[in-house]
Amino acid sequence: MPGEYSPYLFVVTMVIAAVAFAATPLLLAWLWAQKYSPNKPGPDKNATYECGLESKGDAWIQFKAEYYLYGIIFLIFDVETIFLLPFAVAFTGLGAGAFVAMAVFILLLVEGLAWAWMKGVLTWK
């Protein structure tokens, strides 16, 4: 109906304009490439890596799972060192409660280490 006010007309116009604004350069570039940019693929150009070296071997190789256990034991004792150092510095000024808490903490970790040792994790096979 002529003269009728449609509040969504502006939105529709805006959507069409926005899509055209983005799509027109892409379309023009595609048309230009059809004539002035012949497609020239090749084994080097389609290669996965782009550092100049040829990729060789297989990506499906296996890593030793033992490294994971080594890593996690190292991490635990690395953190323990951080706690041991202030404990040693403040040792003379500490009460019995603090000493027991620290002893439990260290014993728990030593127990874990003994378990790993018995399991043979510390020998690299």
Binding site: Y36, S37, K40, G42, D44, K45, E50, G52, L53
Partner: protein, 203 residues
């Protein structure tokens, strides 16, 4: 359109151009070099891209770390025979149109290391070089001059006709053979379609 009419229109404030002119103008002012240095010349290349010499004035400051995004390979330094296959492969991986500047005495001829058993006597034995720069190392001004020379070359490349550049010929290759490590030398020692040893004429 002939030159006279173009000048006449320009005096009246009407500027005319061709599609080819606009296309090449855009291309020559947005050449992206490959971030790729081989030896001491690379230091001069870095200096060229820095504030004092400012390669950005020519629209070429965007050094790309991937050959897929680069238009220009600046072979800056000594190409050893160990490195030559990688250089050629990187060139092959660049999209067309692509250009090469051989920077410095080593890249164009082997330079002071020419007698070395492991030095390639010029990268133009394997890939087509557009601009050669002599010097050891060339000053940043020399690289800028080579760059302007390349811009002039790009501006003069026709879009149609028999003299159009290689990338517009669909049947011409975009990749060049990558040399392999042989028992004593690279095999082949050069690409015969690009470079041949100068023949000594006797008599």
């Amino acid at each position: 359109m002939d030159e006279g009419l173009k000048n006449e229109l320009q005096k009246q404030g009407v500027f005319t151009t061709t599609l080819e002119g606009i296309y090449n103008w855009g291309r020559q002012n947005s050449v992206w070099p490959l971030q790729f240095g081989l030896a001491c010349c690379a230091i001069e290349m870095i200096a060229t891209s820095m504030a004092r010499f400012d390669l950005a004035r020519f629209g070429a400051e965007v050094f790309r770390p991937s050959p897929r995004q680069a238009d220009l390979m600046i072979v800056a330094g000594t190409v050893t025979k160990k490195m030559a296959p990688q250089v050629v492969r990187l060139y092959n991986q660049m999209p067309e149109p692509k250009y090469v500047i051989a920077m410095g005495a080593c890249a164009i001829s082997g330079g002071p290391f020419k007698q070395g058993y492991n030095v390639l006597k010029g990268i133009d034995r394997y890939i087509p070089v557009d601009v050669h720069i002599p010097g050891c190392p060339p000053r940043p001004e020399a690289l800028l001059h080579a760059f302007m020379t390349l811009q002039q070359k790009i501006a003069s490349q026709p879009l149609t006709g028999d003299h159009r550049p290689r990338h517009l010929h669909a049947e011409l290759p975009s990749e060049f053979p990558v040399p392999a490590f042989g028992a004593h030398d690279l095999e082949p020692p050069n690409n015969p379609s690009l470079w041949q040893a100068p023949a000594l004429r006797r008599g």
